[in-house]
Symmetry: C2
Subunit: 175 residues, 2 copies
Amino acid sequence: MKPLFAGVVVTAAVVCVVAGLSSASQTVANKDTAGSGVASPIYGVTLPEGYRTWPLVAPAEEGKPLDELRAVLGNPIAMAAYAKGQLPFPDGAVLVKLAWKRTPSGEFEPASVPGAATTVQVMVKDARKFADSGGWGFGRFVQGRPADAAEHRTCFACHQVRVVGHDYVFTRYAR
Amino acid sequence: MKPLFAGVVVTAAVVCVVAGLSSASQTVANKDTAGSGVASPIYGVTLPEGYRTWPLVAPAEEGKPLDELRAVLGNPIAMAAYAKGQLPFPDGAVLVKLAWKRTPSGEFEPASVPGAATTVQVMVKDARKFADSGGWGFGRFVQGRPADAAEHRTCFACHQVRVVGHDYVFTRYAR
């Protein structure tokens, strides 16, 4: 394990230099993605490293009873697919949906802002590995821990019925 | 070494794309930032190149009468400041707020999603240049064109009264 760990450190260092990102930016990412590393049941999907710095696909709001603000972020493969209007999404595309309780702003009355984080939900495209679920693997995480198998069984069941025409992905790129 | 090298290359490539260096991502960004290049009145602020690929600070919702979904993105200097809790924000920090009409999802009843884009609003930190407005220059753009001077006079007036304790910035980083 030691060589692997060293490799990760070196890789991260190289990435910072290549990207020209400050160590402080990396700190944000690391805090937010420091999950348990535990994979979701059924699909074996984990929280992807550094997702919190990925570009925004679109925000959303979910009404009652959840009453949440949400934002979907995409990895480079997913963002390139959105840019090209490429459907189905290619293998390697990853989407992450962050959700927070919708909370009234105490500083600007008409506004609502993110309150407590609720879930982080992940979709990973691998047409062969996840052939039984439209090519997508799902992960639903609460405080970095995956939800149970019963909850994961609901993911594709809902996407399959509602957004078959958009490769089972609800979120469109917000222009 | 081979696995390590491969890891470096792959990860570095991913980060380069995240940083806005991929041609595909740039295509998305360019479409969205292809403004007139015209600067805002009073402040001379323009739409920053490539902002649409910047990381998310936080989403928000604004109630009636505007009824909008919003997302604030930050450049690397701004994101580093958020990570460190650095106040005031350092010179060079840029925040961009995108706004869209809040539109019911036709695919998932409880959800609202971005409809037509309304405004893109920019804050640029330069303590000396913008000393009369808390160190911030403001730009408010509709379809890539800056709003008039009268609208720009309202920017700092509102921020000054409401968020003096957070360097005149409403948006907090959504963890």
